[in-house]
Symmetry: C2
Subunit: 408 residues, 2 copies
């Protein structure tokens, strides 16, 4: 089972050097919720005035922590706030016990951090359907609150991992029209990844000043083009949560600042790509570009149909430029297509056009592209101007190894 | 790669002893379309007066033979008819060449059998996107036409196989209110199996008398509950075709005969189950029953979401009674559900009820059920009276082995 513990071949060389975000501090602890010998709980403390936006799974069976977070987004930000996250147990499908666990953890966090319980956002990730031993967490809250540090974000990224093979972070110092602000974010996610919000846990921090409605709009808009455009296995988590906190500590107002918006997008896209790069069993990172669809919505349906097709994903694992399976996936998607107008590229190689293999197609060139670690598949539908880009990975023996045994 | 050539562990012991259907005769030949050393073309000749019904893939990229069959269903049956099927090349996504190949094969079949070309139904299954070397087929038509035999259906079932590991047949002699009629059918299908029609090739024959509109209605109605309720991998073929021919040779009119309708259903369900039992890499046959949904349509959406979930399918492969993944699949399906009303069974074992693990749950019993070759998963949504049953298989290393290398 080396494939479970080995770091993904698509992992970056190291955790990035993230900027310090004024107004947030982190701590972690080994609470032993499920994993032994590693930190599994992280606290992020946020200063009074921090605005918080979030997007969540749309699953009908979403977890108690998700429902609790959704109810708290509108709370006014005059007080401090906190994110409290555990790995190892998702507290999903745990009935009344789940609600009680969220309440106990939020209460203990509020007390330890001296903030209202309505400003505590909790997440849990791991096994579904088993009771969360919340006392293991609440007993550490005073220590967690007393030991936060502004430079603890890498440890926080490590504490929230489950089947992840590497910690995921992204950040930037962005020059807005009124001066520099920092953005830093972390994510966890590897399996049960399909775009219906974020399908994972993501926390992004900035010291910019921005109102909650504006931050919410920004996060939701960029989410649609980043986390909602990735898929590992078409399965959608019950716990997906993305929270973004703007502490305002820089004093720089970024309302309507284009550079800030772009920087938030870039951090979100980087984190989303890192989740794909840690896709369970992944050996290839694949970008799928669909153009020429009847609408952008149709383009995304086509692109996700290709990205989620087990036959396309296994062909990629086998380094086979199998355009027939791409045709199949376009055909089954339900969005508008005309077989005789399709053209398909693997990388720069035009494989098929107007419904058949391209006249100048060189399979050796396409096969060479498929041997790379980063691939692209382009499909032009030939009907209109709709376009979409999504990202996925291949389907390998590693995915079977991990999921035929891991109780998630 | 033993998993590719070994017979599925879920295969029946032998090909069934099918009744002879008066009015149809079969022949096969080794034309060398792609496979060597085996028959790969089958002809079924049908007597004048035979009515023919069919249902087909709804893929937007469906193949030239499918489009040709669809156009011919309404033709009046005073003449003889023929089915001509090749394996090894699907003649899909082959542009104008594909249309020409269908025309050449249908023309040669019509000439050899002395019937109008409008009564020749062709199918092709195998590689997508490569030109069909139709001369290899047309050169054998005179021989095929001269050598048909009423008891050749097993050889026909073998000739249409691609990644199938066993030939699939089902049949019955049914006592209608006016006397006995026979039904015999064959199918091929193993991967690229998802319900959007039949996702495979199926040919069913009867000597009953029934009008084309009545036969079409019967086939479409039973198809919705049989072939459209199976999935191997959520991928939908470009070539799916089910054709049923009623030769009328028995002289027995089965219009509105309930026993006949039930027998057609049973043959279709048996063939559909055989396709699942030959699912690529399958080691478990799984029935998923959803009850208590808001509607039958919602129940089918939930059931297929469970059946197509890679995480549910790998848990089954790992013999893990992982109800959390079933909850996940219900939650992501898009159909109405309430987490706190769900109950879930593995076999007879009540695993979860009212949103949490059942009080009397015995994991050892559930785990014992998962070790069987034939499993059932029951989900009650708790909202209404909608119900659906679908069938699927597990997702194993065998699926990866087959599809990371096979150019389909």
């Amino acid at each position: 089972m080396a494939s479970i513990t080995a770091v993904s071949p698509l992992a970056p060389g190291s955790f990035p050097d993230l900027p310090i975000v004024d107004g947030v501090a982190f701590s972690t602890v080994a609470a032993g919720v499920r994993y032994q010998g590693r930190d599994d709980v992280m606290l992020a403390k946020l200063i009074p005035g921090t605005t918080i936006a979030g997007v969540f799974t749309t699953s009908a069976t979403r977890s108690a922590p998700v429902l609790d977070c959704q109810a708290k987004l509108g709370v006014t930000p005059q007080d401090g706030a906190a994110f409290l996250v555990n790995s190892g147990n998702s507290n999903a499908f745990t009935g009344r016990n789940g609600v009680d666990a969220v309440d106990a953890i939020a209460h203990a966090t509020a007390k330890a951090c001296d903030i209202p319980q309505e400003r505590v956002f909790t997440s849990s990730t791991g096994v579904i359907g088993e009771p969360l031993p919340f006392e293991k967490i609440t007993s550490h809250l005073d220590t967690l609150s007393a030991t936060t540090t502004p430079d603890g974000i890498q440890a926080a990224a490590q504490a929230i991992m489950t089947t992840d093979t590497f910690a995921k972070g992204a950040g930037v110092t962005v020059q807005t029209k009124d001066g520099p602000v920092t953005i830093a974010g972390i994510a966890k996610g590897s399996g049960m990844i399909a775009p219906d919000m974020a399908t994972m846990l993501v926390y992004i921090f900035t010291d910019a000043v921005i109102s909650q409605p504006q931050l919410q709009e920004l996060v939701a808009r960029h989410n649609a083009k980043t986390f909602n455009c990735i898929t590992v296995d078409s399965d959608t988590s019950t716990s997906d949560t993305l929270l973004m906190a703007a502490t305002g500590a820089s004093g720089i107002d970024v309302s309507d600042d284009a550079a800030f918006s772009q920087a938030v997008h870039d951090v979100m896209q980087t984190l989303a790509h890192l989740v794909v790069r840690d896709g369970e069993g992944a050996t290839k990172f694949v970008e799928i570009n669909v153009t020429g669809a009847a609408s952008d919505a149709d383009a995304k349906i086509h692109a996700l149909s290709v990205a989620n097709s087990p036959l396309v994903k296994t062909a990629i694992a086998g380094e086979d430029p199998n355009w027939g399976r791409v045709v199949m996936a376009i055909g089954k998607s339900g969005a508008a297509a005309d077989r005789d107008l399709l053209s398909i590229r693997f990388g720069d190689v035009l494989v098929a056009e107007k419904g058949w293999v391209s006249a100048g197609y060189d399979e050796a060139k396409a096969a060479a592209h498929m041997k790379g670690q980063t691939l692209s598949i382009g499909v032009d539908i030939g009907l209109g101007n709709g376009a979409a880009t999504v990202w996925t990975c291949d389907l390998t023996h590693g995915y079977i190894d991990i999921n035929a045994d891991y109780r998630s």
